[in-house]
């Protein structure tokens, strides 16, 4: 106000007609004058939308200067009800829904990668894997497992043997594997915000709040390395597959809400040198075995459950790796995070590769975000037909080659 009065008395204003000169010259002079007053900001404590926006922006600014540990703590400190996503789910067509919640485009087939076939190594591995199959099904006389525990009774130890054998034999070819960390039954957790919903009832009904999701995954085993795997496609590459959009609320999947600790965990704490992921191995639980699904009439859902498992587990793992490096939804990843997974039920193997291109999934940061995460996956392939008379019948070499190719992936 005082500045306008001062300007009225200015000499050259009187030459032009009063109304025109007043309105135009005030703006010109105000823009060129040096700022004698602090910038006009909305209040911080008022009960207004601009006040809340300012508080949020200041919080984000303050977070940018913190370490990764403090960022994770600040983003996961407040507990609220969230949707819990189970990677191994009975829900029908869950892979489409999970793709929407993780902004993942699924591409069938694996990305192109050349590797040289060392026959001696392959034959050594073939004998090791055949031995572990026979050990499990032929040599060792195991009693019948209790109901619904057949997979962890028979397949889990055999998978453990295979993973150890593969890692130790291929450590010669791939030096990264020699320095890697192999965990059994690790925990992988990830917490993120995606989209918004209107609260339907309660004392906060009618208000808009972000949707929170949590994945708590327990793979059978995983290999963590100290360097990052190279990307499959560049960060800003244009892939034609679209991310499916699901209009319905998550409760209709069905997805259930719970409130507990928001965890973000790779498999080891932040200070561990092996903080990047290489390969995860998942075991299909009893209720999702092929024979049980076909007895319930859900034979076409078998592949769907495998895909949903791959997408959810790998998104959680790569997301947690990115958070460990200090990236979050406002500070998007500057380099893509890559991981691989093998899902098996003993006989059938499916392979998945995941590339995390973006962590900006909140409503605020997703508006201008063109990047999407990518998942490559295969159909399930049989490793062997059956075990008869101390011999493995119907051996499929392609599956073994794919396993070797996965483990030979090096930075």
């Amino acid at each position: 106000m005082a500045s306008c009065c001062r300007l009225l008395l200015h000499p050259f204003l009187c030459r032009k007609p009063a109304c025109l000169a007043f309105s135009r010259n005030v703006q010109i002079i105000a823009s060129t004058a040096e700022s004698l007053y602090p910038p006009i900001l909305p209040s911080r404590t008022a009960k207004s939308k601009s006040a809340k926006r300012r508080v949020l922006l200041e919080f984000f600014e303050q977070l940018r200067a913190c370490t990764a540990q403090e960022k994770i703590r600040a983003l996961t400190r407040i507990q609220r009800e969230k949707y819990v996503i189970y990677p191994q789910t009975f829900a029908l067509n869950a892979d489409r829904w999970y793709q929407h919640y993780t902004k993942t485009a699924y591409v069938s087939g694996l990305p192109e990668k050349t590797f040289d076939n060392d026959e001696s190594v392959l034959s050594e591995l073939r004998s090791a894997v055949c031995n572990s199959i026979l050990q499990e099904h032929w040599y060792m006389k195991k009693g019948r497992a209790f109901a619904h525990k057949e997979q962890e009774h028979s397949v889990a130890p055999y998978l453990r043997n295979i993973v150890c054998a593969l890692k130790n034999v291929l450590a010669k070819e791939n030096p990264v594997l020699g320095l890697s960390s192999l965990d059994f039954d690790p925990q992988v957790n990830f917490y993120w915000l995606r989209g918004e919903r209107t609260i339907p009832r309660g004392h906060r009904s009618g208000r808009v709040e972000p949707m929170r999701f949590q994945i708590d995954d327990k793979p059978h085993s995983q290999i963590r390395i100290s360097q990052q795997l190279p990307e499959f496609v560049p960060l800003e590459a244009d892939i034609s597959t679209e991310v499916p959009v699901v209009q319905s609320a998550p409760d209709l999947l069905p997805l259930f809400r719970r409130q507990y600790d928001n965890n973000i965990f790779v498999g080891a704490k932040l200070e561990d040198p092996c903080c990047y992921g290489h390969t995860q191995f998942h075991m299909v639980p009893d209720r999702f075995r092929r024979d049980k699904m076909s007895k319930r009439g859900l034979s076409d859902q078998v592949e769907v459950t495998l895909r949903a498992n791959g997408i959810a587990s790998l998104f959680a793992w790569t997301g947690a790796q990115a958070m460990y490096q200090g990236f979050w939804s406002e500070e998007d990843v500057s380099r893509p995070f890559v991981s691989q997974a093998v899902i098996t039920d003993g006989q059938y193997f499916s392979f998945f590769c995941y590339q995390l291109n973006t962590l900006a999934l909140t409503q605020r940061s997703d508006g201008s975000n063109v990047r999407k995460n990518l998942c490559w996956g295969t159909e399930s392939m049989r490793l062997y037909e059956r075990v008869t008379d101390g011999d493995v019948v119907g051996w499929n070499d392609a599956v073994l080659r794919l396993l070797v190719r996965f483990l030979l992936n090096k930075p």
Partner: protein, 147 residues
């Protein structure tokens, strides 16, 4: 249902005493979900068997819930009147089939046939209503004042 003991023959119902009502979902459901109102006594497995054997509808999953209806309303004698509870089943169809609840009450253009008494009456009522409306040239201003 009669209690099952080990050794009993498989229980079969040849003429089921219950019916299921297909209803329009109140909230928007995914395309493969169909909503039914079912009697309180039957279970998810009964719903599945019913649909698969009688109507040969491939059912992938069934979820049920019980809707509690109010006991708060009172009648003219101030006695509490209970609205009956009902059970709702959400059935997800197998083999990627979809179902959209049809529009049972579509909008009809001409309700009356030509030359009938109802049509002339409707036209007369329409003219009356038109005559009662204020002059549109006045732009919403009332006719109480002025010439």
């Amino acid at each position: 249902y009669p209690l099952y003991q080990l050794g009993n023959p498989q229980m079969r119902l040849f003429r089921p005493p219950f019916t299921m009502t297909l209803v329009r979902p109140g909230k928007e459901q995914p395309p493969d979900t169909v909503q039914f109102r079912i009697p309180m006594e039957i279970t998810k497995f009964d719903v599945r068997n019913y649909l698969e054997t009688i109507y040969s509808v491939p059912v992938a999953a069934v979820r049920t819930r019980i809707q509690y209806c109010t006991n708060k309303k009172r009648n003219h004698l101030n006695q509490r009147v209970k609205r009956p509870d009902y059970k709702v089943a959400y059935v997800q169809l197998a083999q990627q089939q979809t179902f959209q609840f049809p529009d049972i009450f579509p909008e009809t253009e001409n309700k009356y046939e030509e030359g009938s008494a109802e049509e002339m009456q409707e036209k007369f009522m329409e003219d009356e209503r038109q005559r009662q409306k204020p002059d549109p040239r006045r732009g919403g201003v009332t006719e109480w004042f002025g010439l």
